[in-house]
Amino acid sequence: MTPAWLIRTSLALAIIASGWLVFKLVTYLSLNRVRKIAHRLENYQPGKAAIVYFTTPDCLACKAAQHPALVRLQSLLGDQLQVIEINAYEDPDMAKDWGVLSVPTTFILDSKGAPRQVNYGVTPAEKLYDQLRQTQPQAI
């Protein structure tokens, strides 16, 4: 007979997995919504992968960690990458349309301008690089 703790552990893992799936579904739906409005993005150059970076002037985590990570990535990838920085205070409508609730938030766009990934909070350069490679394996 299966021990009770094992059944309860399995149940706990199933609940946690369900929660993770719900989170992934919400992220997918959020990206899907952004997909419909991403073409309105100014300064976007088609044919290149892009990172849309939402920040604010008073965000210390952005200054201390996210911005340096993006600078590093930009110097590594050069013309293959465009970083589009948006001040959420100056453009609150865009932040709202893109579902940005906190900064830093970064979106990875493929060469057609379609959002493929979203990161809430500080995201290391290595992770952004991996996401860009998944998006544009032939270019990056």
Binding site: A4, A12, I15, D58, C59, L60, A61, Y89, S102
Partner: protein, 162 residues
């Protein structure tokens, strides 16, 4: 918007949430309702003394050893206290349900607290704080603080304290 924000170390809050999640998960897996009761009690005490219940883990062990660094933000402590108190009430009801044999209800309420604490710990959204700010907007007495400038009600504030 509230102009009387103070410095709040979010590392204490995150340590509190992580401890709550771990204790409740162990309580569920090993079928120890007393662990739910213990967690509820610590949270009640924390709410009464106006501190995160498991803050001592951070201040006594994690911070002195530099295992967790401070993350001080301009924020209102009151909504976090309210969220902790709300969680304590849910866990108290959960305890009563578990004692009286309503196991499914009891553990469902425990999982509700695990889910909300996880939302706060991993995503940075404090549902209890959002309720607090919502009550503030409705001008309910006792809920005097509004969300920090530029922060969606319930989300972790954007700017660190310098």
């Amino acid at each position: 918007m509230s102009e009387t924000q103070t410095k709040v170390d979010h590392s204490v809050i995150r340590t509190n949430q992580a401890t709550i999640i771990i204790l409740l998960l162990i309580g569920f897996i090993l079928n120890f309702p007393w662990l739910v009761t213990l967690t509820a009690l610590v949270m009640i005490i924390g709410t009464v003394i106006k501190r995160p219940g498991f803050a001592f883990i951070y201040t006594s062990w994690l911070k002195p050893r530099n295992w967790v660094k401070p993350d001080v933000l301009q924020d209102n402590p009151e909504p976090h206290r309210f969220a902790q108190g709300f969680g304590a009430v849910v866990l108290t009801i959960s305890t009563i349900a578990l004692i009286t044999g309503a196991g499914v209800l009891g553990w469902a309420l425990t999982w509700l607290v695990i889910a909300l604490a996880s939302l706060n710990l991993f995503i940075g959204f404090c549902a209890g704080c959002a309720v607090y700010y919502w009550l503030n907007r409705l001008k309910v007495p006792g809920f005097g603080k509004s969300a920090p400038v530029g922060t969606f009600p319930g989300m972790r504030p954007k700017a660190s304290s310098s």
